[in-house]
């Protein structure tokens, strides 16, 4: 660690990964993991915007029980696209491809990921998949739901084949990232960076990568078979050709359940970073958190049938899946308790990333606990396929992963751009997102227990009040997100210059300049302490520089 103080102003004039080369070609052909992270940032957030507009349309239509602004077909297409875009084009890449790509190599003391060209290829594959998905929307759209259940998906018209092909292509983007991270974490750690000195964010990405490489290919072949069924009637899923539609559900959920852990594990990794940094305290239960990530990765493969308790599968299968589902909940609970304990005897501050962390505790707790209702077979019979499910998965995916993702964005933003965001407005955005999110989705639990099925374009009058509250919440949420976008975009171009370590954190990325130099480290870093040793190492948060 250098003893001379460098002001934030000094670092800005240095060569960094942003100014080292200019022009669009230097971006489109970059091999720098940081630039690739930025490429993903813009494309993924564009898809988030699109998916969000679709969500607002859904909620607008549901303001009244009858048909308001669109036909049933249009509504069905909109909820299908909202799901497919948010899952495949937003959440799955969000933390790994944006934050992971940028931060992971630096956190382990490496100059880049193991396979930079594969990394760039993964982004191009993502763009190809996104392009094909957008084409599908224009070319006839899809109304099957993001789950593509057969035989409806094999029989109905629309651009099902091209949309399914788009998802197939996107799967490769995910697989490439997974392969890259596994090789990087195993082989490129700096000397002294043992497994147990790695930040928990890295552990989270590692567990995620394991699932990515094992589960995604199974989705791939399922989608190929679905395309063949539609094109050639091969007879695997369509009963008219001798196939079994429930087999599709087994194949589909074998990937799609582990997929939700692909979504949450990186988010949990971010939370470990944030809670330690903003409590200015050593993380509680490092090994417990690390091991629980890996445990979740493996257990996640055994529970897919809990999506199918009423599908007609056997009672024995239901028994086993229910039991394993309860088991996979335990490591998540362990993490929560360890994170909360991290605040004990800490020195807590409330910057925006911490506000998102606290939001995460609130909303992910609800999301996880509502999973218990669904793991229990008797209650699941009543609740499955209702709005209770919609609320549950939004609480874990958005209340979990996305809150962590937003916290991570704010946290690493000064490192990425060398400029600080406006803290007051950041906090306002966090508050609005918290309020809007709960207002939108909590009423949906009640609608579900009261019997309102999901994917309903029109609904019986008695559910209207709950829907009105939910739609109002969606506007508050949207406002919070718009403010967040303005805060972050403004900071990119006009924010005050950021120092190396505005948070007083101890992981390796905070030892290098903001923005980082092109190869991260001038010399291979020496790892002398653990990533959370706030009890041993005294590091004060550095002051943000005056505006340029």
């Amino acid at each position: 660690m250098s003893t001379a103080t460098t002001t934030a102003a000094d670092t800005q004039d240095k060569v960094n990964y942003l100014n080292v080369s200019k022009g669009i070609k230097s971006w489109l052909f970059t091999l720098d993991h940081k630039r690739i992270g930025i490429l993903y940032l813009f494309s993924v957030m564009a898809m988030f915007l699109f998916g969000g507009i679709l969500a607002l349309s859904i909620r607008l239509e549901l303001l009244n029980p009858g048909a308001d602004m669109m036909t049933a077909d249009t509504y069905n297409q909109i909820f299908t696209l909202h799901g497919a875009i948010m899952i495949f084009l937003f959440i799955i890449p969000s933390v790994p491809a944006i934050l992971g790509n940028f931060v992971l190599p630096i956190q382990i003391g490496a100059k880049d990921v193991a396979f930079p060209r594969l990394n760039l290829a993964s982004w191009y594959v993502y763009i190809a998949g996104a392009g094909l998905a957008i084409y599908s929307i224009i070319a006839g759209s899809v109304d099957t739901g993001w789950t593509f259940y057969t035989p409806y998906s094999t029989q109905v018209g629309g651009a099902v084949i091209s949309m399914v092909l788009a998802v197939f292509i996107l799967g490769f983007s995910s697989i490439f990232t997974g392969i890259n991270f596994i090789a990087t974490i195993h082989r490129l750690r700096a000397p002294g960076m043992t497994w147990y000195k790695m930040p928990l964010f890295v552990w989270g990405l590692y567990a995620t990568a394991i699932i990515q490489v094992l589960a995604t290919p199974v989705l791939g072949i399922t989608l190929v078979l679905l395309i063949l069924e539609r094109a050639f009637g091969i007879g695997i899923f369509d009963p008219a050709m001798g196939g079994d539609p429930v087999l599709f559900q087994h194949f589909f959920w074998f990937y799609s359940h582990p997929a939700v852990y692909i979504m949450i594990l990186p988010g949990m990794g971010v939370i470990s970073e944030l809670i330690s940094t903003f409590s200015h305290r050593k993380i509680f239960g490092y090994k417990a958190i690390a091991y629980s990530s890996v445990a979740i990765a493996f257990l996640s493969f055994g529970v897919w049938g809990h999506h199918m308790f009423v599908s007609g599968q056997s009672q024995y299968a239901t028994l086993i899946f229910s039991f394993l589902t309860f088991l996979v909940a335990i490591p998540s609970g362990v993490k929560m308790f360890n994170w909360v304990s991290t605040m004990y005897k800490g020195s807590i501050t409330f910057e925006t990333p911490m506000l998102f962390t606290l939001t995460f505790f609130f909303t992910f707790a609800i999301g996880g606990l509502t999973g218990i209702f669904l793991g229990a077979t008797a209650t699941d019979v009543h609740l499955t396929d209702t709005y209770f499910i919609v609320a549950h998965f939004h609480y874990v995916m958005m209340g979990g992963t996305i809150m962590a993702f937003f916290g991570g964005l704010y946290y690493w933003w000064p490192k990425i751009w060398g400029r600080m965001y406006n803290e007051a407005w950041g906090r306002i955005s966090a508050l609005l997102v918290f309020l809007g999110f709960n207002l939108t989705f909590f009423p949906q639990f009640v609608a579900g227990t009261q019997g309102m099925p999901r994917r309903y374009f029109m609904y019986p009058d008695k559910y209207q009040m709950l829907n009105v509250v939910s739609t109002t919440g969606s506007w508050v949420l949207a406002l919070g997100l718009v403010i967040m976008a303005v805060v972050l975009i403004y900071a990119m171009g006009w924010g005050p210059k950021a120092p190396k370590n505005p948070w007083g954190a101890l992981t390796l990325e905070w030892k290098i300049d903001s923005p980082p130099p092109p190869h991260n480290f001038e010399e291979t870093p020496k790892v002398t302490h653990g990533p959370y040793d706030h009890d041993k190492v005294k590091v004060k948060p550095e002051k943000v520089g005056v505006p340029a």
């Binding site: 050593k282 020195s347 019979v381």
Partner: protein, 324 residues
């Protein structure tokens, strides 16, 4: 909202609803406890340990406590195992059909529910059952996957095209209850609504006598047709106000010329209406998909006559010259 239920659950009306609700509330209160524990502790910690001047330096070195890890792993495991067994126990009761159950066949179809009773009667979109009597439902779909859901009975079961699935219930109170389709099945998914009508044993017997082939004695043909319009679910796809839906509107249909999908034109007369009810795919109006199912065996001659009369009442053309 149904005012006779609780904040969370609609009023239970089956023999199993109470048990399902008991489990629900156990999980609910346990969840509330753990939620308050996590959130409460968080709030307590962020207040007590917030950063203060003079307390900015190195913090606690406590980073591990094996006893705590064991406790907060073991207690949740015990709790979830309890919930697992309880849930499965109730679930098995929902799966095992009592021996004295009466059997009704359910057919799901885009976008209506057909019910066939033991004596050969049938009904559409209204399931009539006797109170305090186990009812076994054998179900299948004619097209895509649907799901049979009665919230107040707390039962749900997917209805598949390739095989039969089974569910059962015993209704404990007379009355009318909502029946929804709960598996997305296309355009009319949210309109695939039906009613479960729980009646006394005597009323059920009477229903079986007269059901399916309602002659509607004492009603005019037009009244019969108007009744059939809803009871046979024509309203799911055909409006009477002029707006197109899955199928053409009935308003001003009778007596007018329509273009068919093969380019030819035809006048909507008695024969065309009858043919469309019994062989709907024969002459489809241009611009509409050929998705109407046949009602052969589901409507009586009198009911067909009634529908024709009803359509006449919706059009300003009252008579069409019959040509051979």
């Amino acid at each position: 909202m149904d005012t006779t239920g609780t904040f969370w659950m609609p009023q239970g009306a089956s023999s199993i609803a109470g048990e399902v609700d008991a489990l629900f509330y156990f999980i609910f209160w346990a969840s509330v406890f753990f939620f308050l524990l996590v959130v409460g502790l968080s709030i307590y910690f962020i207040i007590k340990y917030r950063r203060r001047e003079g307390r900015e330096e190195a913090t606690s070195h406590v980073d591990y406590n094996l006893k705590l890890e064991v406790i907060w792993t073991a207690i949740p495991i015990i709790l979830v195992v309890i919930v697992f067994f309880w849930g499965f126990n109730t679930y098995m009761k929902m799966q095992v059909v009592p021996r004295d159950a009466i059997e009704i066949k359910v057919t799901g179809r885009q976008w209506m529910w057909l019910f066939d009773y033991p004596n050969g009667s049938n009904s559409i979109n209204e399931l009539v059952v006797p109170v305090d009597q186990p009812v076994k439902l054998t179900m299948s779909s004619e097209d895509v996957i649907h799901s049979f859901y009665i919230p107040q009975f707390r039962i749900k079961q997917d209805v598949l095209p390739s095989r039969y699935t089974i569910t059962w219930f015993e209704a404990t109170n007379t009355g009318k209850y909502d029946l929804y389709c709960a598996e997305f099945c296309g355009k009319g998914h949210s309109e695939m609504l039906a009613t479960v009508k729980v009646v006394s044993q005597d009323q059920y017997a009477a229903f079986l006598e007269g059901a399916g082939m309602e002659g509607g004695e004492g009603m005019s043909l037009e009244q019969v047709g108007k009744q059939v319009y809803t009871s046979r679910a024509c309203n799911t796809c055909h409006s009477i106000d002029g707006s197109p839906n899955v199928g053409p509107t009935f308003k001003d249909a009778y007596g007018h010329e329509v273009e068919l999908s093969d380019g030819s034109t035809i006048t909507v007369d008695e024969n065309y209406i009858r043919e469309s009810i019994l062989e709907p795919k024969a002459k489809v109006v241009k611009g509409f998909q050929s998705v109407m199912p046949t009602f052969q065996g589901l409507v009586s001659e009198r009911q067909i006559d009634g529908v024709i009369a009803y359509l006449k009442s919706l059009s300003e053309v009252k008579e069409v010259e019959q040509s051979e």
